[in-house]
Symmetry: C2
Subunit: 294 residues, 2 copies
């Protein structure tokens, strides 16, 4: 407004004043640009998004190199691979039985408070730790929470964030849908499950000299380890539900005393199903819907 008012009289002003006005214009233009950029940023990244999830380390990693997944292994001694081979009939049988075992796995949200054997939890995590990883970095930390107070604190953080998700972040239509379903932010299994396994991905490690060492493909690696863990749990008759608590990563990380380069990927409440446990009546896609042969 101020500038437009002056424009008609500008030609009668001294060149010095004109210069001042122009500098003002420059300043206004620059600020307008900056605001526009800031707005773009906000539109793309919602303010409530978990800072830990926003770091996009995985995208950066991918840029660096393809084959680091393997390379580190190349620099060390190679030894003959020892292999167990089964007859074809037995392969067919083993593959069928493994499929049938895993096909009984369901995400179960009703978990009994009965304790589970320590040794079994150790073994399923050892199994998860056999997963391959980019450049053999093994970028995972499994935090096993058994302490009831700590489980309750975890529940409080997750329910607090979930309530905000439901009340403010999810949008009207969706919350209406959820009301119909009587779904809310209460996660009782976080108290009742005897064990919570929080799986952290280490977005980088440290070299001997203290420098950051990039963990290539850490999210894929840790998710693969998580898949093996789910198979191992199913194999021993324990149940879980794969959860990715939104916005809770940083608070849970601090609560559990994990370092900043570890980011929460998945939380698994683990135990036996409660007697009244139900699951949604779901079907899985058939082989012809997930497999293409060329």
């Amino acid at each position: 407004m101020h500038i437009q008012d002056q424009t008609p009289t500008m030609f009668f002003l001294t060149p010095v004043l004109v210069a001042v006005v122009c500098v003002l214009i420059v300043w206004i233009f620059k600020n307008a640009d900056r605001n526009a950029n800031r707005k773009k940023g906000e539109a793309r990244v919602h303010p409530w998004v978990d800072e830990d999830l926003k770091d996009s380390t995985d995208l950066h990693q991918v840029e660096e190199d393809a084959d680091k997944w393997q390379e580190s292994e190349e620099s060390i001694e190679h030894i003959p691979f020892s292999h167990t081979r089964y007859p074809e009939m037995e392969m067919a049988k083993r593959s069928q039985e493994f499929y049938e075992l895993l096909n009984k796995r369901r995400s179960v949200r009703f978990i009994s408070n009965e304790q589970v054997p320590v040794e079994v939890i150790d073994n399923v995590i050892k199994a998860a730790g056999t997963a391959p990883s980019g450049a053999h970095t093994e970028p995972w930390t499994f935090v096993v929470v058994k302490n009831p107070d700590m489980k309750h604190k975890i529940r409080e953080i997750i329910e607090e964030e979930e309530e905000i998700n439901y009340r403010k972040r999810m949008g009207h239509r969706w919350v209406t849908d959820l009301k119909k379903l009587r779904t809310n932010w209460v996660k009782e299994y976080l108290d009742t499950a005897p064990v919570l396994i929080l799986i952290f991905k280490q977005v980088h490690g440290f070299a001997a000299n203290g420098e950051k060492k990039v963990h290539y493909y850490n999210e894929i690696s840790v998710s693969i380890a998580c898949g093996i863990l789910l198979a191992a749990l199913q194999n021993v008759g324990l149940v879980t539900v794969t959860t990715t608590p939104l916005n809770c990563g940083p608070r849970l990380r601090v609560l559990l005393g994990r370092p900043p380069h570890e980011k929460l990927l998945v939380l698994l409440p683990v135990g036996y199903p409660s007697k009244e446990a139900t699951v949604p009546k779901l079907k899985r896609k058939g082989l012809d819907q997930i497999m293409v042969t060329v």
Copy 2:
């Protein structure tokens, strides 16, 4: 330079000329800003990065909502969960045996050209398809390539991109390191392995009305499925190596006729190990290095 040269004489010029000079200054400032932004962008995203990998769908998804991982299930009928419970002794034994089986798994790059039973490949992929997924979207496509010509075309694409990676993209120091190790871009297993499994993540699906349906956490879901697939392969005595071919995704997708919303995540050459197969002498981290109990 041009502007500075004019500055001393500016006060003798007409206000109109001063205004023109100032507009020029505005234009120069604005362009400088834009260039600076562009440079920032370039520093972050290397020009050779796979376009398919750059789409950052996963980051966007996470913004949308936390609990969609489960929600879709809530709207359908619930049924009692049927559970197989083992005695504690058997749980301990099963967990130990499963760990020992998986701990023998190694990434093997020397794969024999011997054929593998079709039924076994079907079963391991069916097992992978039992993985949990965000909102039960099952966002995976397993492309099983057995055709020798197709395998060779895949090899050509990957080796071509890998050669560029090695020659141009990897930087001098690293290529020098690789020369010492005689590692190069030749991937013989892409021809010899009887089966290549290319795992695609579907970054979105389609609703009944044809609208895009976001696949929440698709990369985590598909990686979990990949973990189960690796366990299933190990269980039948087949070997593989988990590879993430850089920059090849779009070309391989087009070669295999997959739609644009499918992005290559992992390529697994599958078969029996060749007789002379070797593996790097690697150790895995101990349980105390990967697990923390609270």
